[in-house]
Symmetry: C2
Subunit: 354 residues, 2 copies
Amino acid sequence: MAPDQEIQLLCPVPVADDQKIMLAHGGGGRLMQRLLDQVVLKELHNDCLQERHDCALVPTPKSASTRLAFTTDSYVVRPLFFSGGDIGTLAVNGTVNDLAMGGAKPTWLSASFILEEGLPISTLRRICASMRRAAQAAEVTIVTGDTKVVERGKGDGIFITTSGVGVVNHAHPIGPRQVRPGDAILLSGDVGRHGIALMAVREGIRLETSLESDCAPLARTVLRLLDADVPVHCLRDLTRGGLASALVEIAEASGLELEVDENKIAVAEPVRAICEILGLDVLHVANEGRFIALVPSDHAEKALEALRGDPLGADARQIGRVAEPASRRVILRSALGTRRILDMLSGEQLPRIC
Amino acid sequence: MAPDQEIQLLCPVPVADDQKIMLAHGGGGRLMQRLLDQVVLKELHNDCLQERHDCALVPTPKSASTRLAFTTDSYVVRPLFFSGGDIGTLAVNGTVNDLAMGGAKPTWLSASFILEEGLPISTLRRICASMRRAAQAAEVTIVTGDTKVVERGKGDGIFITTSGVGVVNHAHPIGPRQVRPGDAILLSGDVGRHGIALMAVREGIRLETSLESDCAPLARTVLRLLDADVPVHCLRDLTRGGLASALVEIAEASGLELEVDENKIAVAEPVRAICEILGLDVLHVANEGRFIALVPSDHAEKALEALRGDPLGADARQIGRVAEPASRRVILRSALGTRRILDMLSGEQLPRIC
């Protein structure tokens, strides 16, 4: 045992923000207890976490027709902090949004940390505080968690894996296989903010206007659709691979042809400018607070109205429709009136955006 | 985009086992789809995963008195493969066991991978196959997952985070606060195998006898106690920090004194020998298939009988009892008849054992 660890043990002093993570913080002993008590649990405080049991017990939803939604995502975003959020915000909102895309009301979250030796305690504290705020905003409770520490050079500061459990209160299925010819394709807002906000930090690009990630919890916005009795066929948030990947995945899974109109897809001016400078196609750039909804065309107006009643859907628009042919393709009608097939990328333009 | 990635895209050849993970495998595009289809989903195949939706939908348990248990753990074990298991086995069994310690029947699991660029595809395939076998053995279904890739030198081959949801069918609470003076402390088997099996691989120690990790799913064993109507007060599996940490945590959370008898704690001969050579206290060494149960003393015999009816509890014994004083301490009566206070370590003797 390193001498400084022993000193830690003997002195009941707080885990100070100028200290760094040591391997021993992951060992299941006193130091780990102290890290959890004074940093992680202090920031994320709630009754369920305070139990410090191996697992959290939560009540079963009352209604027998209710189903549960279950999802998980690991977050490895670089940089850890960016305009409009950080890895903690993202880890909460990303998992909340995956539940929302199943038509679920997100309810319980778990959080598991893989820390690299040498991570400043202050960084961990700041990220945990972000997670608490994001969880409050999304109306979810982080009920259980885990912490591991790996040696310097075997991780990258911090990775967070969140899993989520949500409650599905409606009966109709939502997914690519429910998509039908004629369905309207609705987009909740402008695209490309998250990827470009990260890229700007990474590349040191200075902007005259502010550009923030769109990172946000989408459940409330989505549930407005269901509460308005819109028979939603499919929902998809536009993360890795952007709008293009989401559309292509739905075309392939449904077997149908999706037609979208480039003119209808909103892109903020600084996003468009940086995409032009860097030669990126904004349709492939990741978002963390945007989604598409495919709904029967005769419900499109009602759906747009429901979306626009929420700040995160204020700019919702219909961007296209599902066509008859069983082509499994996405057709993009460009601003110039030409038509081209939209495909997903092989890999990713901007690795580690989430 | 690297030329070899482009070739991947153009050739619909299988993801071969002699290939390695590239950053693009984590990008949400074609390469990622192919990796999932041909490796992860192929090995872990089930209907729910095949939906490829953002989250899994599972039915709510029927009974209104039922509660849900929810847990998560990240696995960063080194080496990835060891005698008696690998990181995949551990990721399934560890999370299954955390649910079991809540008195739950483990039901659904999620699996999230953080892969380091350069990881051989064959390694990922082998680990996924282990997870499938472990899930089958533990009677759980891996219903949802995620895959991220980080640059070479920013991870360590593979980290896996599993979360689990289980169903709690009994009404009485289980946890350190339920512990009462007079409770019998039962131990399900011998201790120290997992930590020492890993240590043997790391240190290149050759053994004349075989020594395997005790990594195993404990839910069936634990549920035998509950099915036998033993009013279990507390359950704890003996992972990081070993038997000592589990006892100390319970003493501190319950506020009581725990007395255990060193003579009653079984240790396999090769485990004892390696502990002596390396100067390790076996009571602090991690296990992955052992647990303690604290039960009212008048139910101890029935509980031992129930445990011994299962192969994973065949060697179950009473190792001590809970005493009256509100000392929050663990007293170890040694083989020589002396009494000493047992504490948890500050950090960990063997980092990254799970």
